[in-house]
């Protein structure tokens, strides 16, 4: 591996590329160990109730079964912040699919058969699992994820709305979405000499380590959690999950290392999902489409176990100007699994509603939808009243329109035909917060002229390992083949979870500071060469990050989509998606493009394919695998392009804003808007599928 001077900004293949294409990169349940045993989870078959009888006789009789852990037999755990993680501690069942037992056996086959033989009897209670606008449990949470105010109000929305020339009042619905990383949640746990080692499929092992420490009453330094390679997460591995806890409990119980992987079907619930959301948007504008009043009311769900409040309406606080504005969030507590982070929580579902409504407003005002967004652009954060650190939404819209060939678009819906296909185009804006969390990092120089960079960042496929290495190479000012980087291990200097699109900005700053400090010390004290026993520098950027300018800081983007709808069958195809983004400085154009098109494609998947279908009789989703819960496949993606515009912004000293999530923000709305332009049909409930179109299409 080598990188020229100025590694940052140049495309570089992933450092672990060779390991991944040769099948040698090890994921969580692929680490060899002597005397391995295997775990298999058992899930509750009722939505609400109490386990009244446990019969493990048949399971224990199964050859190879070593132990059956239930609430009657599992090791006791100490309370932690998330009650979700107090697994197998009590007989109550809070949702269908909750993990209620774990079988440990000599082989996967025996564990699986043992799990089938565990018999649990329940006293059931009536459950409520369907989110509605009038659910009796609706309330106003204290804050929404992670710490935003629940409601905001500027000006007088009601008066502004009443006085507006053009008014729009619509409700948009999105179903539950399941993260479905390709690697199911999995962990291997070993106990030896009172120490615990866990290989976890996690987006951040520091939190996993501290949580395990509290659960098992162990000092943190006796626990090590690694996540060298992680098969995707998309938020679902961002918080400590059941797998490392169960694997550690099982390993302690049987006195052997235990591998535990959830099955694909078991992921639909216990590891989080995106809540269904009901959103009402009201827009009041003048005849030219200039917004006077904007209101976004969002209703979502959480479990009875703990509160998770999706920050659905938060983007409406910052995306467009309007003197009168209001946002609210209400939450229902249902007998369902706890929803959690899924790529751009808040902005993703919120942008579907807001950007669909903006398209409807453009139609109502007879204004081009790109022009409508430009007219409502703002250099001032409309709620905070202070300028953005940088705001290049207009540049994204204009550059995207130029690249896409938007200029001569006929606004009339449902009138373009190409053979069997009705053809239309749609646009949507995107916004995502740019954060710079503090982190620790270490840089060390060896006497042989090599360098080691150490930080507990996690690369879940984002390209973080390579981007941080590029930052280190530039900060050290040496050829890339002299620099090695270690990540994904809780024994390394602690760093923030891979989430919030904050990795490159926050971890990168810490790596940059450690490497520059090392370079300075080497140059000033050792004439540029490390002493015989090497030199190591460790930094923590918590204070520097906290002291950064406080101007509102966001990445922006614009999506352009062409959709085609078969005039007879309603079949939908998306031959082209184009996104332009303002995401600060791009460290590695190759991996950045992959992240952006990955997000855009997940938005396409949300628009057309994904839907958690809940059966209220059972209080659970009926489509619990990849044959019935559809995600976008290779044939669904045709031409897809991502670009970025110059976006100078030193609100982060490296100029980085982050781009892991913004690709999905607005993407589904752009598809829905293109379908409207193609057919004249406005779909306000996702997914858009042929059964919702076929009876209503223009006669061919």
């Amino acid at each position: 591996m080598s990188a020229p001077a100025a590694a940052v900004g140049r495309a570089h293949p992933r450092l672990e590329g060779r390991a991944k294409v040769t099948g040698t990169a090890r994921y969580a349940v692929e680490h060899p160990a002597d005397g391995l045993a295997y775990g298999w989870a058992v899930q509750a078959t009722v939505a609400k109730g109490r386990i009244v009888r446990v019969d493990t006789t048949a399971a224990e009789r199964e050859p190879g079964v070593l132990a059956v852990l239930t609430h009657e037999t599992a090791p006791r755990l100490n309370p932690v912040e998330s009650p979700e993680l107090l697994l197998l501690q009590q007989p109550r069942v809070r949702y269908r699919g909750e993990i209620v037992a774990l079988v440990v056996a000599e082989s996967l086959e025996a564990a699986r058969e043992g799990a089938r033989l565990v018999r649990l009897d329940y006293d059931t209670e009536p459950h409520s699992s369907v989110l509605t606008e009038r659910h009796p449990s609706l309330y106003k949470p204290d804050h929404v994820n992670p710490a935003f105010p629940t409601d905001t109000c500027v000006g007088d929305f009601d008066a502004g709305y009443e006085a507006a020339e053009v008014r729009l009042d619509q409700t948009y619905r999105t179903p539950a979405y399941h993260n479905n990383p390709m690697e199911p949640h999995a962990a291997t746990a070993y106990w030896a000499d009172g120490r615990l080692l866990v290989h976890d499929s996690s987006q951040g092992t520091n939190d996993v380590r501290s949580t395990l420490g509290r659960l098992f009453e162990l000092p943190a330094e006796t626990i090590r959690v690694t996540a060298e390679h992680v098969g995707g997460g998309f938020g679902s591995k961002g918080t400590p999950r059941c797998t490392p806890v169960l694997a550690a409990m099982a390993a302690r119980q049987v006195g052997r290392p235990v591998r535990l992987a959830l099955t694909r079907q078991q992921l639909f619930g216990p590891v989080g999902y995106r809540t269904p959301v009901i959103q009402r948007i009201r827009l009041g504008a003048d005849a030219d489409g200039r917004l006077a009043a904007i209101c976004h009311d969002a209703i979502s769900q959480s479990s009875t176990i703990e509160e998770f409040a999706e920050q659905t309406a938060v983007l409406t606080r910052t995306l467009y100007a309007a003197p009168h504005r209001r946002t609210t969030h209400r939450l229902a507590r249902l007998d369902v699994p706890t929803p959690s982070w899924m790529r751009a929580p808040g902005e993703c579902p919120g942008s579907f509603a807001l950007e669909s409504a903006m398209d409807e407003l453009a139609v109502a005002c007879g204004v081009d939808p790109v022009e409508l967004r430009l007219r409502n652009d703002t250099e001032i954060d409309p709620e905070e009243g202070v300028p953005f650190s940088s705001r290049n939404l207009a540049a994204c819209l204009r550059d995207g329109a130029r690249r896409f060939g938007w200029a001569d678009r006929d606004p009339a819906p449902g009138v373009r035909r190409d053979g069997r296909w009705l053809v239309g185009t749609g646009v949507a804006s995107a916004i995502y917060p740019a954060r710079t969390p503090g982190a620790s990092a270490e840089a060390a120089a060896g006497p042989d002229g090599t360098y080691q960079v150490r930080i507990n960042a996690t690369d879940i496929g984002t390209g973080a390992r390579t981007a941080l290495w590029q930052i280190a190479v530039d900060a050290l000012g040496v050829p890339g083949d002299r620099v090695a980087i270690s990540i994904g291990d809780s024994d390394l200097p602690p760093a923030y979870v891979a989430g919030g699109s904050a990795g490159t900005a926050g971890w990168g700053l810490s790596v940059d500071r450690a490497c520059r400090s090392l370079r300075r010390q080497l140059d000033e004290r050792y004439a540029g060469t490390a002493p015989p026993d090497g030199l190591s520098v460790r930094v923590d950027t918590t204070d520097e990050a906290a002291g950064l300018p406080r101007a509102p800081r966001y990445a922006f983007g614009a999506h352009f989509v062409e959709a085609r709808v078969d005039v007879d069958s309603g079949e939908i195809r998306v031959p082209r998606m184009l996104g332009v983004f303002a995401t600060g400085r791009v460290v590695n154009p190759s991996t950045a493009r992959s992240q952006l098109i990955g997000g855009m494609t997940m938005g396409l998947s949300m628009a057309l394919h994904e839907e958690g279908l809940l059966d209220q009789r059972f209080g659970d989703w009926v489509n619990r695998d990849l044959a019935t819960y559809h995600v976008t496949a290779c044939a669904d993606v045709q031409r897809i392009e991502a670009y970025w515009v110059p976006d100078e912004d030193r609100g982060n000293p490296l100029g980085v804003k982050g781009l892991g999530e913004i690709g999905i923000v607005g993407s589904a709305a752009a598809v829905a808007n293109a379908v409207h332009h193609a057919t004249g049909l406005r779909l306000r409930t996702l997914p858009i599928q042929l059964d919702k179109l076929v009876d209503r299409l223009p006669v061919g």
Partner: protein
């Protein structure tokens, strides 16, 4: 109940069979539980972790290997039923440390992110190119009788749709396969 002793205390299960497999040119003789899938035989018994378990139900393609030259989802096959078979997994693609053209094109085109589906994509691509070479049509082939009209993007997309990539590296997978195939003389 807890048993902590090693395998010796197990009753002799009646449901095991000897299984002979050639994997990447190396012969193996295994004694396997009849319920063991080909995927678990590779991963848990031979230590070949390249083939991945993404769904265990033949729905995601992460476990794809070549069985007697054809791509199969190894999670759907029982190892005992593959007795005597010749397997190629992702570990068998590189020769003497030199990456197969598909592997190097995947790296150069950034045709993966998390890497978990990659082994399956690579084996699937190898099998797919062979199917194409033999003239097998697909659902997007315009004239089924005439066979596929070369290695077009729609043909690749269609034929690779049994391999899900949640990171959505699809366009890069398609371009990597095209380049590798061109280097090998497939068009």
């Amino acid at each position: 109940m807890v048993r902590t002793s090693p395998r010796a205390d197990l009753p002799e299960p009646p449901y095991r069979s000897p299984v002979r497999l050639s994997v990447n040119g190396r012969p193996h003789e295994l004694d396997l539980d009849n319920r063991t899938t080909l995927l678990d035989a590779l991963r848990e018994h031979l230590g070949l972790i390249g083939a991945k378990k993404g769904c265990d139900h033949g729905q995601c393609g992460s476990c794809t290997v070549l069985l007697d030259g054809r791509r199969v989802k190894s999670c759907l096959a029982f190892a005992v039923a593959a007795d005597g078979a010749d397997l190629v997994s992702v570990e068998g693609l590189a020769e003497d440390g030199h990456l197969h053209p598909l592997q190097s094109c995947f790296v150069q085109h950034d045709a993966f992110q998390c890497g978990y589906c990659t082994s399956g994509q690579l084996c699937s691509a190898l099998g797919m190119l062979d199917e194409l070479r033999q003239g097998w049509p697909s659902v997007v082939t315009p004239d089924l009788a005439a066979g596929p009209d070369g290695l077009t993007e729609p043909e690749i997309r269609e034929r690779m749709s049994g391999n899900i990539c949640r990171c959505a590296a699809y366009p890069h997978i398609v371009s990597a396969i095209r380049e590798a195939a061109a280097a090998e003389g497939v068009r």
